[in-house]
């Protein structure tokens, strides 16, 4: 049992995939010689050659469009977008081709493409380097949307994403890249399974990616207030694990959704809406949301005010109408 960072686990997942399947190809900006700006592809070009881990020209639509063509020919491209906001130039390719190709060809032309997107804030990045763009992808039928929160899931879910015959947007919580944990590479459960990270009795926090550790922290802090909180890590936004989520919410009768992205029209809206649709009469209070504000991502020195923190989460829990 060794320890590894989440970044190292991702690197191992890519290495193992490249080793096991000659059709797997990594491509993107600076992924080769440099090993990526976050070093997620470190050493891959050296081990597998510049072609298996390709430094591309600087054009995201071109990168994703090229990956589409490679997938059409039977390869399994893994694309790296350097930062969340720099995936936007590829939006048309993603929505109009990647997400739809299987459907528009009646299943004849699946596109097994994995699109890795480092996302979210909390690392003091300047504008355009801290967006949480999951809602754009989760609303686009044909895409799977996956995001790990632990070192183990980083490996397992990335392997599963690369192995998937469907396109997967794999959202990597930047600020967790350097988080450490014990690590043995092992397969994850199939994409689409949420997991209860903490079992509680008073209320349930529903969250994913970068917000999972904060929710666990909040759950610890909540003890002092006499609250015993459950924490559910969604892991996959699409498909969505209604079963695990609803069971966890029914068990406590109260829930708060937590994520970094702006709240309005965010993933939390979908989660809150479907939980209330399905668990209405088990709820003592409406499902509340703790999210980023509806503002452009703030400059580094102000981001802490934007990001959901322990206090803001506990304030929301406190509003769950404990009296009535």
């Amino acid at each position: 049992m060794t320890t590894a960072t989440l970044a190292q686990a991702l690197n191992t997942a890519l290495r193992d995939s490249l080793r096991e399947d000659p059709d797997v190809h990594v491509l993107g900006e600076d992924v080769g010689t440099l090993g990526g700006v976050f070093r997620i592809t470190d050493g891959l070009a050296a081990e597998f050659g510049a072609q298996r881990c390709l430094d591309t020209p600087l054009a995201e639509a071109g990168i994703l469009g090229t990956a589409v063509g490679m997938a059409m020919y039977g390869l399994r491209p893994v694309v790296e977008m350097q930062f969340d906001a720099f995936a936007y130039p590829a939006f048309e390719q993603l929505v109009s081709h990647v997400a739809k190709m299987r459907n528009r060809t009646a299943g004849r032309m699946p596109l097994p493409i994995t699109i890795r997107v480092p996302y979210g804030g909390g690392i003091g990045g300047v504008e355009h380097h801290s967006d949480s763009s999951e809602a754009y992808y989760a609303h686009t039928p044909g895409l799977h949307v996956v995001t790990p929160a632990t070192v183990g899931d980083a490996y397992g879910l990335l392997r599963a994403s690369i192995a998937s015959d469907d396109p997967v947007v794999f959202l990597e919580p930047k600020r967790l890249y350097w988080s450490k944990d014990e690590f043995t590479p092992q397969p994850a459960p199939p994409i689409g399974r949420a997991i209860v990270r903490r079992q509680g009795t008073s209320a349930t926090l529903l969250t994913y990616g970068p917000s999972v550790p904060i929710c666990l922290e909040a759950a610890e802090a909540a003890k002092a207030e006499g609250w015993d909180l459950s924490v559910v890590d969604l892991r996959s936004l699409v498909p969505f694990d209604d079963e695990t989520v609803c069971a966890a919410v029914r068990a406590t009768g109260r829930a708060v959704v937590v994520h970094e992205a702006s709240g309005f029209g965010g993933m939390g809206a979908e989660i809150a809406a479907r939980v209330m649709e399905r668990c209405f009469h088990h709820l003592a209070a409406p499902v509340l949301r703790v999210t980023g504000f509806d503002i452009p991502y703030p400059p580094p020195m102000l981001e802490r005010h934007h990001l959901p923190g322990v206090d803001r989460i506990l304030d929301a829990v406190a509003r769950l109408q404990w009296e009535q």
Binding site: P57, G65, T66, G69, M70, S96, R102, T105, A106, D242
Partner: protein, 379 residues
């Protein structure tokens, strides 16, 4: 004399450090001819194989008839919409006939004739426009990508496929078709740049038919020719008369083999004209004159080739009649196929969104199934 046309200073080598800036190539070989390459009406015409010309002629006759029949089908409500390639048949046919079976074609919405010329049945090539499904053919059967509607988005796909084939050591060429308007899109630029850098075996065929719907080329680009864009990517540019079937065939064949031989991608601008409106839904009189259209009718690719064949005694009335019959047979087949209503299965909406439907899609499919059952009962 301004600095913009003043000669430069000392040569690079003399003062320049070890080059971090990549090879500096001589642009001269990349530049297209100043005028579109032509064969019909030039001495070169005599050198061509008569059987090839007769074959091209038969295909042109059939292609023209195909366009007419498809247009008729829109009037009969059998096609939702049809963007005719009438007047561009020489480009459409050459795009298909200069490829090997192992090569790939990446067509746009206007290129169904190229798709049919590649061997796809008209019914399947036109499925998107008929409206019963998004695509009617198996892309792998004839190595034809689905028709692409978002302009120029298919160009990077062609590059990626050609790159993939090259990685596997297969001598496959990808040919993608884009319109003059499509060259303005960022994806066109990114595809050409990737192709140049990867030296991918891709042929970019730009059918410059003078308009993007109502927008004439002069409002689309200030380039000397669209073929001149090639130099900016370090690839070869060719300018060709798109209404000269012999020239189209010759240039594209050359371009395809150039790419196959590893000498890099080629950008071909075919100067042609859309004789019909943008689609049956468009009113071309709003943006162009009858004079302009008739002037181009005088350069009809079909008429030009027939004239050549007759002038040189390469075809007789019987040959023409034969070609016409074959074309009529194709049209009859189309009528027969399209006048039957397509079978529709609403539940198929959920079939191919993912390899496995998500739990959410299962719920939604159940809802639709229940509605359909109720409808059925009601009837």
């Amino acid at each position: 004399m301004t600095l913009l046309d003043q000669p430069s200073g000392a040569p690079l080598g003399s003062v320049w450090p070890p080059d971090a800036h990549g090879p500096r190539r001589d642009p001269a070989p990349l530049l297209p001819d100043p005028e579109p390459f032509r064969i019909l009406g030039t001495e070169a015409a005599a050198k061509l194989d008569p059987e090839l010309l007769r074959d091209l002629y038969r295909r042109l006759v059939a292609g023209r008839r195909y366009n007419q029949q498809a247009t008729t089908l829109t009037k009969q409500g059998r096609l939702a919409v049809y963007p005719a390639s009438t007047g561009q048949e020489a480009c459409q046919i050459a795009a298909a006939t200069t490829l090997r079976p192992t090569d790939w074609l990446f067509p746009s919405y206007r290129d169904t004739l190229a798709v049919v010329s590649r061997g796809v049945r008209p019914l399947d090539a036109l499925t998107l426009l008929r409206g019963n499904a998004h695509s009617g053919y198996d892309p792998y059967e004839h190595k034809v990508a689905p028709l692409s509607t978002p302009l120029a988005t298919q160009a990077p796909h062609a590059v990626g496929l050609a790159h993939g084939a090259q990685l596997r050591g297969d001598d496959v060429v990808a040919l993608t078709m884009v319109g003059d308007g499509g060259t303005s899109e960022g994806d066109f630029h990114e595809a050409l740049n990737f192709a140049g850098v990867l030296n991918a075996p891709v042929v970019f065929l730009v059918q410059n038919n003078g308009y993007a719907i109502s927008v004439p080329l002069a409002k689309q680009s200030a380039a000397p020719t669209l073929a001149h864009k090639a130099v900016g990517y370090g690839i070869s540019g060719r300018l060709v008369d798109g209404n000269d079937a012999a020239a189209m065939h010759t240039v594209l064949r050359e371009a395809v083999e150039h790419a196959r031989s590893g000498r890099g991608p080629v950008l071909v601008e075919a100067v042609t004209y859309r004789l019909e409106a943008h689609t049956n839904a468009d009113d071309a009189t709003r943006y162009r004159t009858p004079d302009e259209v008739s002037a181009w009718q005088a350069r009809d690719p079909l008429a030009m080739l027939e004239q050549h064949l007759r002038d040189h005694g390469l075809i007789d009335d019987a040959g023409v009649a034969e070609a016409t019959e074959a074309a009529e047979a194709l049209a009859a087949e189309m009528r027969a196929e399209f006048h039957a209503d397509p079978e529709l299965d609403p539940m198929s909406l959920f079939a191919h969104v993912y390899a496995e439907p998500t739990p959410q899609l299962r719920e939604q499919a159940a809802l639709l199934a229940a509605e359909l059952a109720a409808e059925a009962e009601a009837e």
